[in-house]
């Protein structure tokens, strides 16, 4: 299993109190609120939460792929190797993208350009960042396709995306993200969601394998607790734009302190209590509208542990251990439930 001694490693990226909003016609959508994250070198941080909770917006804030406008950084900073990404000019961001911060996406079916061969797409990344010929770029593309375990890479390099299966395309995507001369951060935005279960496992294995080979850190975005268990060193749980709990992967599964984390774990089909059961438990209610959301805890309308104060103000950080923090007024109650 994972070793949790990595907290001595150097910090690669630290996001401090990021507030990110979208100004749309009907008002301001506060997609990410007061979010702080730290990613250390060689570490996998997973960002967990349901659709629309701001996971992707957070990830795209790092390499600035959010459309701006309507998107807007209201406040905060993102320090990457000693520089604040949010104050860098666009050409420096472009130079970082694909070299030190690369990204793979959820939909391998649509994330590759349908009118170019995968080889030329990978070669183009090389050629953007280094002075090399197309020939040399293609040669390196073959090497990368080999690295991500695509069979007969010399012929596959000339294939168009539609000639590859979903799993192959995702491997090609990963190869494209690896076209970097320097190890850095790979952002994986739900990399396995659109794939078959068997292919999922292969892709996750591949990512773990590559991580040790090229010494990169991974920011993995997912809503699948199974993927979290497989990949994560640390976990940040997000709900409606806020981080509600953060811990090492063992603590999250064994000693969750936030009612939402507890709810997520309770709705896992693999949970012990479902042996012989006929129905899965779900968290009651729906996610609040980010347009009209107030200052209280966003989860309070669905929370079985809610106190009167929950709807009025968002709780401060409660440090449980050095690696484990929770943002909940009533985390003691969750602790008692777990203890039973």
């Amino acid at each position: 299993m994972k070793d949790t001694t990595k907290n001595t490693n150097k910090v690669l990226l630290s996001m401090e109190h990021l507030n990110f909003s979208f100004n749309i016609q009907r008002g301001v959508v506060k997609a990410v609120r007061d979010l702080s994250l730290t990613i250390r070198e060689g570490e996998t941080l997973t960002l967990v939460g349901e659709s629309g909770c701001g996971k992707s917006v957070t990830a795209h804030a790092i390499n600035q792929l959010n459309p701006m406008p309507p998107g807007e950084v209201v406040s905060g900073s993102i320090n990457f190797k000693g520089r604040d990404l949010l104050t860098l000019p666009m050409h420096e961001i472009e130079a970082l993208r694909g070299t030190q911060i690369s990204m793979i996406f959820q939909e391998p079916m649509t994330a590759l350009n349908p009118v170019f061969t995968i080889g030329s797409q990978i070669a183009d990344v090389f050629m953007t960042h280094q002075k090399i010929s197309k020939q040399e770029g293609l040669k390196r593309a073959v090497h990368l396709l080999d690295l991500v375990k695509i069979p007969s890479p010399e012929t596959r390099v000339h294939s168009y995306p539609h000639q590859l299966s979903g799993g192959m395309r995702q491997r090609a995507m990963i190869a494209m993200a690896l076209a970097s001369p320097e190890p850095g951060l790979m952002i994986a935005d739900e990399p396995t969601t659109a794939l078959d279960v068997t292919i999922q496992a292969q892709i996750l294995d591949l990512l773990n394998d590559l991580k040790s080979k090229v010494n990169m850190s991974i920011l993995l975005i997912t809503h699948d607790m199974g993927v979290v268990a497989e990949m994560a060193d640390r976990v940040a749980v997000m709900y409606a734009g806020r981080k509600v709990e953060e811990a090492d992967v063992f603590s999250i599964f064994e000693e969750p302190r936030h009612p939402y984390t507890l709810g997520l774990l309770n709705s896992l089909p693999s949970n012990q209590k479902y042996k012989g059961a006929r129905r899965l438990e779900a968290i009651d209610g729906t996610v609040p509208d980010l347009l009209t959301i107030g200052e209280g805890c966003p989860f309070c309308n669905r929370c079985t542990f809610a106190l009167p104060i929950c709807s009025k103000e968002f709780p401060g950080e409660t440090v449980i251990t050095e690696e484990h923090s929770v943002w909940c007024h009533n985390h003691k109650a969750v602790e008692e439930i777990i203890a039973k």
């Binding site: 130079a95 993208r97 009118v115 993200a177 076209a179």
Partner: protein, 338 residues
């Protein structure tokens, strides 16, 4: 690929059969009589009857149709009633003028239209976008003949910058070589050492090109914009950006290549329509092309000329569609494989 092209060429035959049939009967249905037009108001019935016999117009319609069809199959389009020349020769003499104008108009429309469309899409909802799309709406609603006359009024009559019509300064002694005057102008520049022919040919092309190209330009700009807007939302654009590809390259290589698919179709269709639009433009600018020739032939009820001209243009239209299809598969590998 070759098999596909041959198959498409084979499909030309039934299409052209339909065109020939349609054109023949539509003209037969039109009021007016070539014999009467030829002889004028005061001809008597016997004279008219004689001419009608000479032209074969006294025979039953279905028999005329059979005769015409059998000649067309032998690639014989007949002779013009008014000039007595072979239709084939008349067309081959005038067609280069039409094609030259059409190609320039289409180049103008495509290049400017695509650039405007891409710019509007990138700067969506900015003043650039609003101005371009507003202009495109005006452009697409503008009648060609009216636009032509306004251009002549402004640039030829008021400003005296450009000629009002024709293809070449009439004072220049000029023996056409290819009949494409821009090319001829270049050849003569080399052989005779003076660019005056090229300059004159170019000056004569400007106004008709703008008049003929404005509507396709507007349509191409609108199509490019909407296609680009859709493509720029696609995941693979985000992928390209996330890999650090420069924005300019993302737009003009990664996005435009995909966005061009519907645009190419529109360009092909517009090119075909241009040939019919050429009838008006050529008339306004006294452009000695096939459009103006058909226009005159219609007035004279010169049946063989009208039929021959329309059949020729139709064939050309179908061929352009074939070229578009081939281009399509070059741009889009997903089609190539099938």
């Amino acid at each position: 690929m070759l098999k596909h092209i041959l198959k498409r060429l084979g499909l030309l035959i039934p299409t052209l059969f339909g065109v020939v049939t349609l054109v023949f009967f539509m003209i037969a249905l039109a009021p007016g009589d070539p014999a009467r037009v030829m002889l004028g108001e005061r001809a008597n019935a016997a004279q008219i009857e004689q001419i009608r016999q000479e032209l074969g117009l006294d025979k039953p319609l279905i028999q005329q149709y059979g005769l015409y069809l059998s000649r067309v199959v032998r690639l014989d389009l007949g002779e013009s009633i008014t000039s007595g020349q072979k239709i084939k020769d008349e067309i081959s003499e005038r067609f280069p003028a039409t094609i030259e104008l059409a190609i320039w108009a289409m180049l103008f429309a495509s290049i400017v239209g695509i650039i405007l469309g891409v710019t509007s899409a990138r700067k969506r909802n900015s003043w650039v976008d609003y101005t371009t799309m507003g202009g495109a709406l005006v452009g697409v609603s503008m009648p060609v003949f009216w636009l032509g006359l306004v251009l002549i009024m402004i640039f030829s009559v008021w400003l005296d910058l450009l000629p009002t019509g024709g293809r070449m300064n009439v004072r220049y002694y000029f023996e056409p070589i290819t009949n494409f005057y821009i090319i001829d102008g270049m050849i003569l520049w080399i052989t005779e050492g003076t660019p005056k022919y090229l300059v004159s040919a170019f000056q004569h092309l400007i106004l008709p090109t703008i008049a003929l190209g404005t509507i396709p330009l507007a349509i191409i700009a609108r199509t490019t914009r909407s296609s680009m807007l859709e493509v720029l939302q696609q995941d693979y654009i985000k992928t390209a950006r996330s890999a650090g590809i420069r924005e300019r390259r993302v737009v003009y290589r990664y996005a435009l290549r995909n966005a061009l698919l519907p645009v190419v179709t529109v360009i092909g269709l517009q090119f075909g329509l241009l040939l019919s639009g050429a009838i008006l433009t050529e008339t306004v600018f006294s452009w000695p092309g096939i459009g103006k020739w058909i226009y005159v032939a219609i007035g004279a009820r010169d049946y063989p000329a009208v039929q021959g001209g329309i059949i020729f243009i139709s064939t050309f239209f179908v061929l352009i569609n074939l070229v578009v299809d081939i281009l399509y598969s070059v741009i889009n590998p997903r089609i190539r494989m099938q």
